[in-house]
C-alpha cells in the first residue's frame, strides 16, 4: 500500500510538468453584430451611414463621467486611459493589460456602414465572465484598425491625435444589458439592436437610440453650431409670432 503511494508520488513528480503543458489557455470570443439595419447600424450624428472609422470593444475600468461625453481630444484621452480593449496585446502600453484577442478587419466601418466579425482568443483572465462590455465607435478619417491574430504583440488600435479632433470626430459609447463576457470558451455577440430604453444599464452612454440602430454624437463645434442654429430658429419663430400678433 505504502509502495503504491510512493509510486504515485513519483508519477506525480515525473509527470506534473507535462500536465501543466497540456492545459490550453482559457479564452473567449467577442463578435460585433452590425451588418445591416435589421441587427442595427451605428450611424453618424445625422443618421447617415459611417464609411470611415472603426470600433473598439472592451471594458471600462474607471468612472463613467458623462461630463466628458463630447468628442474632444482631452475627453478622448480620459476615456482611452480607462478603456481596456479585447484586442490589445496583453503586454501593451499603459498600466492595464489588454485582452490579447485578434483584431478582425470588419471592425473598421465598411462602405455599407457595417461592422461584423469576431475577436477570438480574448483572455478570460482579463475579461472574466459577466464583465460588462462596451463598443466605442469612431467616425474618423484616415485611421483604421490593423488586423492582428490572437496573442499578437502588435498594437492594432490607432491612436487619435489632436489633429483628428480638429478635423471633426464623431463617436458613440454603447453597451446593453446582454453585453457581458461569456464563460471560458464561449462567444458573445454584441448586437446593436439589443440597445434599448428598457435596459437597466445606461444605454447608449453617448449617442442616441433610434430603435434598431444608434447614432453617434458630433464634435462640440458642430453641436454648438447646431445649438446656435436652433436658438436662431426659435428666436426667429418668436419674432415672427410677435410680428403676427402685432399686425393682427
Amino acid at each position: 500500500m505504502k509502495n503504491k503511494r510512493i509510486m504515485k508520488m513519483w508519477a506525480l513528480f515525473l509527470f506534473l510538468p507535462l500536465v501543466v503543458t497540456s492545459l490550453t489557455q482559457a479564452a473567449i470570443s467577442i463578435t460585433i453584430a452590425s451588418p445591416n439595419s435589421t441587427s442595427g447600424l451605428i450611424l453618424d450624428s445625422k443618421s447617415q451611414i459611417v464609411t470611415s472609422g472603426f470600433a473598439r470593444v472592451g471594458k471600462i475600468t474607471g468612472t463613467i463621467d458623462l461630463g466628458k461625453k463630447d468628442p474632444t481630444f482631452s475627453n478622448y484621452q480620459y476615456w482611452d486611459s480607462i478603456f481596456v480593449d479585447v484586442n490589445d496585446p496583453t503586454t501593451g502600453t499603459g498600466t492595464t493589460l489588454g485582452g490579447g484577442g485578434s483584431t478582425p478587419a470588419a471592425w473598421n466601418f465598411s462602405s455599407a456602414g457595417a461592422l461584423s466579425s469576431s475577436s477570438t482568443g480574448v483572455l478570460s483572465a482579463t475579461f472574466p465572465q459577466n464583465t460588462q462590455l462596451y463598443i466605442w465607435a469612431f467616425k474618423v478619417s484616415g485611421k483604421t484598425l490593423t488586423t492582428t491574430s490572437a496573442g499578437s504583440s502588435s498594437v492594432s488600435i490607432p491612436a487619435l491625435d489632436a489633429t483628428d479632433f480638429t478635423n471633426g470626430v464623431e463617436w458613440a459609447l454603447l453597451t446593453a444589458d446582454e453585453w457581458k463576457a461569456p464563460a471560458d470558451l464561449g462567444t458573445i455577440s454584441l448586437v446593436i439592436s439589443q440597445i434599448t430604453a428598457a435596459d437597466t444599464i445606461q444605454s447608449p452612454i453617448f449617442g442616441s437610440d433610434l430603435g434598431a440602430s444608434v447614432t453617434m454624437i458630433p464634435e462640440p463645434s458642430t453641436s454648438v453650431l447646431m445649438s446656435i442654429g436652433l436658438a436662431l430658429l426659435l428666436i426667429k419663430g418668436r419674432k415672427t409670432k410677435a410680428l403676427k400678433g402685432f399686425n393682427s
Partner: protein
C-alpha cells in the same frame, strides 16, 4: 430542481434500409433515432449523438489514399466548390471500420466515378480495410430558425485542429460565418465532436439520424480545446464507464467537464493514470463518484501531442 437541459429520446427504430445494403460486406441494420434537446439561456457544449446513414459500405485496399467504390454516385460526395468566397467544406467522409484506424473518419477530398480519395495518413496505404461512407452532419442540419436560435445573437463556436476558432450564427434564416453574410450551414460537425453554444433564450434542437454501431476514434490536437462528446443518444455516460482511462495519455492528457445547465461552471478535471480515470490529484474515480457526461454534451480535451479519444458504440 430546475433542469435546464432536457432530452427526450422520442424514438429509436431499427431499419434495414440503406442504399449501402446492396454493397454490404457485413450486412446490418442502421439503428435510427430521434432526440430533442431543450436548452434555456446560457452556454453549453453540444455534441450530436447521431451520424447520417451509411451511403456505402465495402472493403478494399487503400492505394495512394484512394479506395474503389461501385454503384455509387460519387459526384455528390466531393467537397463543396464555391467560387464566391463561401468556404468549401468536405461533404462526406470515409470511416475506416477495421484495422488500426478503425473508427477514424477521413474526409473525402476528391472523387472519380469509381473511386474516393481521402485525407488519410500515408501508413494507411496498402492496408485492406472495410469502410463506410457517410455524409457529414452539418451545422445546417442541427441549427435552424425553427430551433428558436436568435439571429445575429446566439453563437456557435468551433475549435479547429489548427488552433483557430470559427464562430457561426443564424442570419436571414441560414447559418453564416460571423460576417453574417457568407453561407456556412455546410460546416461539418465530425463524429464524436461538437460545438460550444451560447444562447440568450430557449432553444430546442431536434436530431434525427443513425446511432453509431461502431467505435469512433475522435482525433485530438495539441494547443486546441478539443470537444469530445458521446455516441449514446439515450443515456448519460459515466467517465468510469468510458474509454477515457485508456484513451487519455497517462498523467498528461486532461478532460474537463462543465455543468450542463447553461452556467458552464467547471465540474471536474478528468485524467488517466493508465488504468483508471482520476481527478487532478490522480486519485481514481470510482463509479459512485464518477463525473457524468450528459448525452448530447461533452468534454474539453487538452493534449500535449496528437492522439485519439475512442468512443464506444452504445449498441451492445
Amino acid at each position: 430542481m430546475k433542469v435546464n437541459m432536457k432530452k427526450n429520446l422520442v424514438a429509436i427504430l431499427a431499419l434495414a434500409a440503406t442504399p449501402a445494403f446492396l454493397h454490404a460486406v457485413d450486412s446490418y441494420s442502421d439503428v435510427v433515432g430521434y432526440s430533442k434537446y431543450s436548452l434555456s439561456s446560457g452556454q453549453y457544449i453540444f455534441s450530436p449523438t447521431f451520424v447520417k446513414q451509411n451511403l456505402y459500405t465495402g472493403s478494399g485496399t487503400v492505394s495512394n489514399k484512394t479506395l474503389a467504390v461501385s454503384g455509387l454516385t460519387t459526384s455528390s460526395l466531393a467537397p463543396s466548390s464555391y467560387n464566391d468566397g463561401t468556404p468549401n467544406y468536405p461533404r462526406a467522409y470515409v470511416e475506416i471500420l477495421s484495422g488500426t484506424y478503425a473508427g477514424v473518419a477521413f474526409d473525402i477530398s476528391s472523387v472519380t466515378s469509381n473511386t474516393v480519395t481521402i485525407d488519410s495518413p500515408s501508413d494507411l496505404n496498402g492496408q485492406n480495410v472495410s469502410f463506410a461512407i457517410r455524409n457529414h452532419v452539418t451545422l445546417g442540419d442541427v441549427f435552424t430558425p425553427a430551433s428558436g436560435m436568435s439571429e445575429y445573437s446566439d453563437a456557435i463556436t468551433l475549435f479547429n485542429s489548427d488552433g483557430s476558432t470559427s464562430i457561426r450564427y443564424l442570419a436571414g434564416g441560414v447559418v453564416t460565418t460571423d460576417d453574417f453574410t457568407t453561407l456556412a450551414g455546410h460546416t461539418p460537425i465530425y463524429p464524436g465532436s461538437g460545438v460550444i453554444l451560447n444562447i440568450g433564450g430557449n432553444v430546442t434542437l431536434s436530431l434525427v439520424g443513425s446511432v453509431k454501431s461502431t467505435v469512433a476514434k475522435v482525433p485530438v490536437y495539441p494547443g486546441v480545446n478539443n470537444i469530445v462528446g458521446t455516441l449514446d443518444p439515450s443515456s448519460n455516460l459515466k467517465a468510469t464507464a468510458s474509454t477515457l482511462a485508456t484513451s487519455l495519455g497517462a498523467f498528461t492528457d486532461s478532460a474537463t467537464l462543465y455543468s450542463n445547465n447553461g452556467n458552464f461552471a467547471l465540474q471536474n478535471f478528468i485524467y488517466s493514470d493508465g488504468a483508471s480515470v482520476t481527478d487532478d490529484s490522480f486519485n481514481a474515480y470510482d463509479p459512485t463518484n464518477s463525473p457524468v457526461i450528459s448525452s448530447g454534451s461533452g468534454l474539453i480535451v487538452n493534449v500535449p501531442a496528437p492522439s485519439y479519444i475512442v468512443l464506444n458504440s452504445p449498441i451492445k
